[in-house]
């Protein structure tokens, strides 16, 4: 599969979390283990909410609407959530999105 770079993700994309990433959730925060570089990451509540939604069926625009419903609308929520998902892509957590070189 050809991978795109994270900055090319748009609100129309429907990202999917990589199945080989191990994620555990504690009190609304997720800790992820990425086997491709053996790195560990903690996601805050918003990040954990997004992670749980990244099943490959929902475009990022829909995630924005869902996040507004849960966390309330904020001025730059569209950009914030897009940036958050792009960051997950850079860290190698998304199918079809190339991780940044270490």
């Amino acid at each position: 599969m050809t991978e795109i770079t994270a900055d090319r993700l748009t609100l129309e994309h429907a990202p999917k979390r990589r199945p080989e990433v191990t994620a555990v959730e504690l009190d609304g925060e997720a800790v992820l283990y990425a086997p491709h570089d053996q790195s560990m990451h903690k996601l805050d509540r918003l990040g954990t909410f997004l992670w749980n939604c990244l099943d490959g069926t929902l475009p990022i625009a829909a995630l924005v609407e869902d996040a507004k419903a849960v966390y309330g609308p904020t001025p730059a929520i569209d950009d914030d959530i897009l940036a958050y998902v792009q960051d997950l892509g850079r860290k190698g957590f998304l199918v079809g999105v190339a991780a940044d070189e270490a």
Binding site: T22, V24, L26, D27, E29, A30, V31, Y33, P35, Q38, M40, K42
Partner: protein
């Protein structure tokens, strides 16, 4: 009771987690000393145990030799050789224990519930767990806490507490009594048997409290609550075994943390630290049931 074979004295065979061993030595007083510091460890049969051989050199009074199975012979000053024996026992216990997750952590228990103190070396975890024992807690370990893979149970490694010189003053009442003929053997570190505490040791416990201790001279006592996710990240860095199977360990340690309250604890006074840990522990038990 030791068995004498030719000119060798053997310690009682014991288990340091997955490492079963005994020591053969030509020094009766050294055998007795080692039996005392190994007394907290569960006994095993000799046929299941590997043998260390610790022999004083005949050609010089200050030197000794240590061997274990086929691993070759270390020869050197007696203090260094005995220190190496104690190090090798711990290292082999970690290496051979694969049926549990292993945390670089001290631990103590009260009524079957445990406080776990993960920290790197020189962080004060042995001193703090010694303080807890003096306050009546039962002993699990000062070095390696074994956790079941479902996170629900802690298994003890009740080795002798290894107390560095920096804590001798604050733990002066725990100073071990050692025969003078062993002066040339002993490293600059006390080995305090847990059996000297009347409450002894526990062999297992349930997780209840995770406290990451840190000593800061003059810094006072500062308690900082941690999210369980932050504690989990910190624990993966305090695990001897995480590298063996990261996904399985992540899930197991998450289960372990989920059952616990988690804090950072900055201390500069042992009694304050013990009282603070006890208070956090009681709060956790009362609120969580």
């Amino acid at each position: 009771m030791a068995t004498r074979s030719r000119d060798c004295y053997r310690t009682v065979p014991v288990a340091a987690l997955g490492h079963r061993f005994y020591v053969e030595t030509d020094q009766a007083s050294l055998r007795d000393y080692l039996d005392e510091i190994f007394a907290g460890l569960p006994r095993v049969t000799r046929r299941d145990a590997g043998a260390y051989r610790l022999i004083g050199r005949d050609d010089t009074a200050d030197m000794a030799e240590l061997s274990f199975g086929d691993e070759g012979v270390l020869a050197g000053p007696r203090q260094q050789v005995l220190a190496t024996l104690l190090w090798h026992i711990n290292a082999t216990a970690v290496e051979r224990t694969t049926s549990f997750m292993l945390l670089h952590a001290a631990a103590a228990a009260r009524d079957g519930d445990a406080v776990v103190l993960p920290a790197p070396m020189e962080s004060g975890k042995t001193t703090l767990v010694a303080g807890l024992l003096r306050a009546g807690w039962t002993y699990l370990t000062d070095e390696a806490t074994a956790v079941s893979f479902d996170g629900a149970k802690l298994i003890a490694y009740p080795k002798a507490l290894s107390v560095d010189a920096g804590s001798w003053e604050v733990l002066a009442d725990l100073r071990p009594t050692v025969p003078s003929e062993l002066d040339g053997w002993l490293p600059h570190q006390w080995q305090v048997s847990p059996m000297q505490f009347p409450q002894g040791r526990a062999m297992s416990a349930r997780p209840r409290l995770v406290v990451f201790p840190g000593y800061v001279a003059g810094g006072g006592t500062v308690v900082t609550p941690m999210t369980r996710a932050d504690a989990l990240l910190q624990l993966t860095a305090c695990s001897f075994s995480f590298h063996r199977d990261r996904p399985t360990h992540l899930e197991g340690l998450a289960a372990f943390v989920a059952a616990s309250r988690c804090y950072r604890l900055q201390v500069d006074d042992l009694e304050d630290a013990v009282q603070t840990v006890a208070a956090m522990f009681e709060d956790a038990r009362q609120e969580d049931g």
